[in-house]
Every structure is written in C-alpha cells, then in structure tokens.
C-alpha cells in the first residue's frame, strides 16, 4: 500500500521566548492507505495541535508533512483551500454542521464547492446516506436531529468527496455511549466500504480500540505505538488500557 500521510520531525512552538511551549516535539510517523489510525493522549498532550497541523488549519514551526506526494507545509493559501477540499475530509467533535442547511445540503456542500454536476451530487449523497443510515433525516436541519445522527451526517460529508485522508477530532466526544458505538461502526464501515484512510484523535480508549493502530502522544512526543493485528477489539482495548496505566495518571482522567 502507498503511504498516504508522512510526517517528518515536526515541531510546533507556542508563545514568545519567555514562555515558550513545545506543543509538538519532533514527531515522525507514517500512515498507509486504508489504515484506521487513532492518536491517543491526555488533554494538553498535543494531539489536537497535531491534527490541526495535518489539516492545514495550523502551521508547523519546523518539519515536513506529506499527503500523497504533496508537501502540504509548503502550500500557499489558495492551494491550501484546494488541498482541503479535494484531499481531506473532516469529522469534528461538535459536528461542525452548518445549522442553516438541511442534512442533504450539508452533505452536498463539499461537492457543490467542487462544482460537481447536480445529478452526480444526488447519486452520491443518496448512496452515502443509504450506507450510513441517515436517509430519513436528509431533509432535516441539524437542530432537529440527535447527536448521533448529526455525527453520521458529518461523517457522510467527510467522505462524500472520496478524500485521501479523513481526519476525525474526538468524533465521539459529544455522543452518548450508544451513539458513540454506532458512529465508530460507521467509521469502520467507511474504512472498509469507501477504503477511506482515517486518522482519529481521541482520549477515549474505547474509541481508540476501534482503530487498527494506536499512537500514544505524551508532552508533544510520540510515546508508544500499538498495532491491533489479529486481536479482537476487546483484547486490543485491554492492551490500550495497559499502555495507559503505563503512561500514569495523565490519561486516567479520561476514563
């Protein structure tokens, strides 16, 4: 499989000289196509900063990030928009759906922006909605839906353009456990049906256990890596818990 994401020695500093904070400290890793990767860490460990840098919302202080063969750390502003709309899909903790649009319009929006013909938009939205089980809420507005439905709509929006990389920032953070489980199933499906490469940031070991691979971050550094291999989800979950225990009290507040 080709490498979809390649991160090389990235660093990110915040603040001025006196109160310098190292949010990311020399992190390197790779994600190959079709992988479902989770990044785990306590709050303040730098995981969200890492995601923001990958999604080009934030810039790194040093180092390189490649998506495909494109070095996105060197892209200009206009090219960044193009990159985001064509190569990336987003799922956020707070859904980030446009509250003025219906689900259908929300899902169709990335396609509209790319000027895809209406006919194709219709087909693709319908297909995605079918697979994610949100056909009946297509004409509803975000405020009329439950959190789980909203997150599935957001997931549909993230994959509708068939992006190289889907970034998910605490996707289950705002959901109850049942909805969370449903969403994670959906992500798994995206991973298999759409062959989407998913990079998910979470502090929740249960959520992380759905991934195929988990990277642990502590104080801006890569701390440990786990591969699920042929483990069952439960076994993998226990392995993750072990690492968290190893990490100490830092992550325990997440449980």
């Amino acid at each position: 499989m080709e490498t979809v994401l390649k991160i090389e020695k990235i660093e990110k500093y915040y603040g001025a000289k006196s109160g310098l904070t190292k949010a990311l400290d020399n992190i390197s890793f790779e994600v190959t196509g079709g992988e479902f990767t989770a990044i785990m860490g306590a709050s303040g460990s730098g995981k969200t900063t890492l995601l923001n840098c990958i999604s080009t919302i934030d810039r790194v202080t040093s180092g390189h990030i490649y998506v495909g063969d494109m070095e996105i750390t060197k892209l200009k502003r206009a090219a960044l928009s193009k990159f985001r709309r064509e190569e990336l899909g987003f799922i956020f903790q707070d859904f980030n759906l446009l509250d003025t649009l219906t689900s259908y319009e929300n899902i169709a929006l990335p396609l509209s922006i790319q000027n895809i013909p209406v006919k194709e938009i219709k087909e693709r939205v319908k297909k995605a909605a079918d697979q994610l089980g949100i056909t009946e809420v297509l004409s509803k507005y975000p405020y009329q839906m439950s959190g789980g439905q909203k997150q599935r709509v957001a997931a549909a929006r993230a994959v509708i353009t068939l992006p190289k990389l889907v970034l998910a920032d605490e996707p289950t953070g705002a959901l109850d456990s049942r909805s969370a489980r449903q969403l994670l199933e959906v992500l798994n499906h995206l991973n298999t049906w759409f062959a989407s490469t998913i990079l998910m940031v979470t502090h929740d070991p249960f959520t992380a256990s759905y991934a195929g691979r988990v990277l642990f971050i502590k104080d801006g550094k890569l701390f440990h890596e786990l591969n699920r291999g042929n483990d069952t989800r439960k076994q993998f979950f226990e392995k993750i818990m072990d690492v968290i225990t190893l990490l100490g009290g830092d992550v325990s507040d997440a449980l």
Partner: protein
C-alpha cells in the same frame, strides 16, 4: 453585591454590550433630534414670524412620529433580544449556582438601569449636538438670510425622549423577566445551538398573500396618482399609508416564502458553489429579515421621497425666485384715472399684517400730479442717492377695455372658466422700448417687435394657457387706430411685479408708435440699490419702502406701491422654507436610522457568521467564493428593500409633487433624479462599507 455583578458583567462582555449600548444611544439621539425639529426650525429667520407654524408642524409631524417611535421600539427590542440570546448560558449558570430567578431579574434590572441611564444621557447629549449641526447644515442650504447660530435645547423633546425611553426600558425589563421566568434551566444551556426555527411556508399561501399585497399596493398607487384629485381628507391619505406599510410587509413575507422555494427548484443553480449556503443564510432568519427589510424599505422610501421633493422644491423655488426678482425694487404709481374711476391701494398701515384699503379719486390724483421721484421728494427722500441704475417707464390702457373684452373677440365665454377672475382686469399696454429697457436692467434679453405686431407677456400658468389659446386664434388688436397682429402664437414669459412665484396674468407689449398719443395710466420705476453688502441693502430698503410710515404724510406714502427683492425672498421662505427644512431634516433622520438598523443587523450576526464561514474554510472553500457569497448575500439584503422603495418612490414623489405643485416645476424631474443619484451613491457607499466590514469580521484570524 448584585449591582457589582451587573457592573462586572457590563465590563466583561463589553463587545456585546457595545452593540446594545450603541443601538440605544443612537435610538435616543435620533428620537431627540426628530422631536427637536420644531425648536430647531426656529433657527430659520422666517419661522419666527409665523405663529401658526408650530401648530401646523405638530399636526404634520404627529403621523410621522408614530412611525419613528415604532421603528425605534423595534430597534430596541431587537437589540435586547440579541443580547438576551447571547447571555442565556450566563443566566443558566447563575440559576445553577442557586441564584433565584428573582435575583437574576434584579441583576437585569441593575444592568438596564446602568446601560439605560448611560445611553439616555449620552444619547441626549449626542442628540442635542447633532440637532445643532443638522439644522446648521440644512439652514446653510438656504441662500436666504439666517439668524446667527444659536444653541438650541428643546425641553419638550428632551422630556418626551426620557419618558418614551423609560417606558421602552420598563417594557423591555418586564419582557426579559418574563422570559427568564418562563424558561426551564435546560433551555438556557441549549440556547446557543438553537437557531430560529426554519419553517418553510406553504408556497400557495405565499402566492395568495402576494397577490393580495400587490393588489393593495396597486390600489394605493392608483389612489395617489390617477385618482389624486379626489383625495382630500387626511383620513383617506392616512389609511393609504397604513395600506402601504401593511402591503410592504406582506410583500416581503410572501416573496421570501416562495422565492426560496423557486430558487431551490433550479437545482443546477442551487447546488452550485455556495448558492445553497447563501440562500439558506438569508432564509435562516426569515422572520427577522422580513421585518428588517420592510422597515428599511419604508425608511428608504421616506428618505427618497422627502429628500428629493424638498430639494426639488427648494431648487425650483431658488431658481424661480432668482428669475422673478431680477432687480432690487420696482415701484409703481397710478398717474391718471378715468372719469368716475377710483383707485384702491392696499396698505399695510401698521406694518403688522393688518391691511387697510385707501381709496382716492380722479380729482385727488390729478390735484397732485407728481411722478414717483417727485412723490419721494415730497417726503424728502432723494431716490437717486439710493439707486445705482434705474429705469422708469409707463403702462398704458385703452379706456374701458378689459382682458375679458379682448377674449370676447375670440368668441368664447371666459366667465365660467378657471381664469374668470382676470377677465375684469384692465388690459395693460407697454411700449416695446420701455420693456426692453426693463429687460436690460434685469440682465435679460429684450424682444423684437415689428410695427404691426403685439406680444403678450404672462407667467400665471392658467392664464398662459388661456393666452396661448387666444393667440392661436390670431385676433388683431386695435390701439388708437393701429391694427396689430400677434407676433407668434404663444405668449412670452414676463412680468411687471416681482413675486416669489408666478403671478403675472398678462400685459401686452406694443410698438412705441401705437401708444404715442395715449396718456399713461401707471408710472413704473425699477432700480437696483446703491449698496454692496446685504446690510447696506437692507438699510436702503428700510428707507425707500417707507417702513416708518408714520413719519410721512399719508397722502404721499400711500400713493406708491412697491415690491422688493428682499421682501419677496423673505416671504418665499415661508411655507416653502418650512417644507424644505422639514424635508431635509427628516430625510437625514431617516437615512441615519436605516443605516443604524442595517449596521445593527450585521453586527448582531457577526458571531454566528464567523463560525459558519470557518466551517466553510475547513471544507476547503476558496476565499474568492466566500467573498462572492458574502457579496451576494449583502447585495440581496440591501437591494431588495431598495427596489421596492424605488417603486414606492415613483408614486410617492408624484403624489408629493402634485401636492407641492404651486411651488413651480422648473427642473423638478432633474432635481429628483439628481437627489436619487446622490442618495444611491450614499446607499451604495454604505453597502460597500458593510461588505468590507463583514469581510473583515469573517476573515480568517489565524494567519494561515
């Protein structure tokens, strides 16, 4: 303690409060400025003279004042709702911490007191200052004499403002307390995520409402234009205004309903770029948007009408006055009377508007055969000292011949016509050389006349019509044996007496030879004052117009009639001046208010919009497309009310011009168009400014 909390709240979320505070302040200021118009109007010299003015003004303003109150009330409620929504979470936290609802209301009370008190004080101050500048500015537009700048403070306006806003604040407070009392705790925390509920309206209902509204408007339009002659009572006009307001609102309501439906049917357009987003943005606050659009549309309509009409009245009055008062003074005196005839001279004996008639007979007149200069001389006034250039000339008449006698030759009975009144007037003749000398003094072109021609001069519109009809009949006129034919078939514009508007019913210019053997009836003396500054001229005016009438023997002073440029100019300031002043003043108030409403709407939505545009950016939308969407959105928001306002204005201006028709119509259309052009530039500028500000607000703050 609670007061401290209120104080801290205001300090803490200053940005939100700033919008609120600004709205209230501007509201107070506009309200004061509007109500102070009566006091400010006194700035214009002439308005001190007319005592009835205040009464008439109050009557005229009461209707508009209701509208202003409504608009301001709407503004304040809108601003307070905006703030309440923003703060629900905060209130929720208080309640969660165990603060009673009553105590939360107390916090609100202190805050309202704080903000309300400050905004009232600052607003009143702003209003007082603003009203001074406004009336200075407006009064400056008048060429006429203006009193020296006076600082005017209107106590009634101030009291009215305070009472009005205290009531508004109290109502607002009650409303807020009620809202807090009604809400369950949970709703406070969900307040942010819940936007105005989006309900699609039934398109058929919308179309029905649209048809009704359009019908109502068409009826109102017809009433104020086609049927305007039958429109007399204020009640009828008032009901038409109400009809206009209601139908404007319904029109926006219905259009917003089915326009969205219509757009979404065209999927190819709707699902292209950010079109869906743009229309949803507009539709998301449809109720608020419809309200604001209606208010803006009505205010724009008022602004356009009031500004353009008052400016065109002013322009036309200015140019007319300039044209009708070419010299400083024209004096005339009867110098001969027919047997048995007597002359009535109207005198303002006390100089206070109490007119009396003086009558004198042929014997009296011929007993003292003095020219104008000799008459002044008898009063020990040497006119040549006061005049730079002067021309004197005579008016002749054919004994016993009236204008009516002349028209009779045409074979038409004019006694039943609109101009019957002038048919009894003596037909006046003026030598062409005399007339040309007057024209030369006036700085105007003279006329050419052949030995067998005559020419009619008039400017009273109805008589001009009558004369034209007469001249087309090509009827010869016999003056002491000479037969004269009309030169051309239309009467010329001309006058012998200076006035603020068209009053000359007509005299006839004839070749010099035709009247060489006749005795003149009147002597005329036209002259310019020998003074450079306004003050010098006013001094001369005082002397030559015999204002201290008691110093002179009545037998002399009452024999001359005169009219002067200064007098006409001052008089012209009367009703026309009031209209213009009011129009400009109110126009500016309306323009200001519309700007405030629009700005408030933009500001109050900025937070929601930042978030939405941030999402769009994350989805990878180009800045260019985002800006274009923003432009489209603001464009629709600005454009739609303007279009309706312009349509309204076409009819409104026609109606107003009909009502103001006595003020002359010279270049009315062009000045209306000019005003609208200037207005559009200002509005367009405001549009550009709003676009720039909104662009700045939604700009990606993180420099990526």
């Amino acid at each position: 303690m609670l007061f401290k909390l209120s104080l801290k709240n205001v300090k803490k979320s200053f940005k939100d409060y700033a919008v609120y505070f600004a709205t209230l302040t501007v509201g107070v200021a506009v309200f004061y400025v509007f109500n102070a118009v009566e006091t400010q109007a006194v700035m214009l010299n002439v308005m001190q003279k007319s005592g009835d003015f205040t009464k008439m003004l109050s009557g005229m303003l009461s209707g508009v004042s209701i509208l202003v109150s409504l608009i301001l009330g709407f503004l304040v409620v809108y601003a307070s709702r905006f703030l309440m929504k923003r703060r629900k979470k905060e209130f929720g936290t208080y309640l969660l911490l165990g603060l009673g609802k009553w105590k939360v209301s107390m916090i609100l009370f202190w805050e309202t007191l704080l903000i309300g008190g400050c905004s009232l004080a600052v607003g009143l101050l702003t209003g007082v200052v603003l009203s001074q500048f406004m009336s200075l500015f407006v009064a400056n537009l008048f060429a006429a004499d203006m009193t020296v700048f006076k600082f005017l403070f209107s106590r009634t306006a101030c009291e009215k403002t305070i009472i009005h806003f205290v009531i508004i604040y109290l109502v607002m407070l009650l409303f807020q307390t009620f809202e807090i009392g009604r809400c369950r705790l949970v709703t406070f925390f969900h307040a942010k995520g819940k936007s105005e509920e989006i309900k699609m309206r039934n398109p058929w209902v919308c179309i029905l409402v649209f048809v009704i509204a359009a019908g109502m408007l068409a009826y109102a339009y017809y009433q104020v234009t086609g049927n305007v002659e039958n429109l007399h009572s204020a009640k009828a006009i008032f009901s038409l205004i109400i009809m206009g307001i209601v139908s404007t609102f319904l029109l926006f309501w219905s259009i917003s309903g089915f326009a969205f439906k219509l757009v979404s049917i065209f999927e190819k357009y709707y699902y292209k770029g950010l079109h869906a987003f743009m229309f949803r943005q507009l539709a998301s606050k449809i109720n608020t948007t419809v309200c604001i659009m209606s208010v803006i549309s009505l205010m724009l309509f008022l602004t356009i009408c009031v500004l353009s009409c008052s400016l065109s009245v002013k322009n036309s009055m200015d140019s007319m006055r300039e044209h009708l008062t070419p010299v400083d003074i024209i004096i005339h005196k009867r110098i001969s009377l027919e047997d048995g005839e007597s002359e009535e001279i109207m005198t303002d004996a006390l100089g206070m508007g109490g007119f009396s008639y003086n009558e004198y007979t042929k014997e009296q007149l011929e007993g003292l055969p003095l020219s104008i200069k000799e008459t002044y001389g008898a009063m020990e006034i040497d006119l040549s000292r006061y005049f730079t250039r002067e021309e004197n000339f005579y008016v002749y008449s054919i004994p016993g011949m009236t204008i009516g006698d002349l028209f009779e030759k045409m074979g038409e009975d004019m006694t039943e016509s609109e101009v019957w009144f002038y048919m009894n007037k003596v037909l006046r003749l003026v030598k062409v050389s005399d007339y040309n000398r007057l024209m030369a003094l006036s700085g105007k072109k003279g006329v050419k006349l052949s030995a067998d021609e005559y020419m009619v001069m008039a400017n009273l519109p109805d008589m001009v019509k009558a004369w034209n009809l007469f001249l087309q009949a090509d009827i010869p006129l016999t003056v002491s044996g000479n037969t004269l034919y009309p030169a051309g078939n239309a009467c010329r514009e001309g006058f012998l007496v200076m006035a603020a508007n068209y009053t000359e019913h007509g005299f006839i210019v004839v070749p010099d030879e035709a009247v060489s053997e006749m005795n003149p009836v009147y002597e005329y003396l036209a002259a310019n004052y020998n003074g450079k500054s306004k003050e010098e001229k006013r001094e001369i005016e005082k002397i030559v117009t015999l204002q201290d009438v008691y110093e002179y023997p009545e037998s002399y002073s009452t024999w001359v009639s005169l009219n002067t440029k200064i007098d006409v100019t001052d008089a012209g300031m009367g009703i026309g001046g009031i209209i213009t002043f009011l129009g400009l003043y109110l126009g500016i108030v309306f323009l200001l208010s519309s700007a405030v409403v629009l700005a408030l709407k933009e500001l109050s939505e900025y937070a929601d919009n930042i978030e939405r545009y941030q999402i769009l950016r994350r989805l990878g939308t180009d800045e260019k497309i985002i800006n274009r969407t923003l432009l489209g959105q603001i464009g629709i928001f600005f454009g739609t009310p303007l279009i309706l306002a312009l349509v309204h204005s076409v009819f409104g201006i026609r109606f107003l011009l009909y009502q103001l028709r006595t003020f002359g119509r010279e270049g009315l259309l062009s000045s209306v168009l000019e005003t609208i052009a200037v207005f559009l530039i200002i509005y367009g500028g405001y549009f550009a400014l709003t676009y720039a500000c909104s662009k700045n607000i939604i700009k990606d703050k993180r420099a990526s």
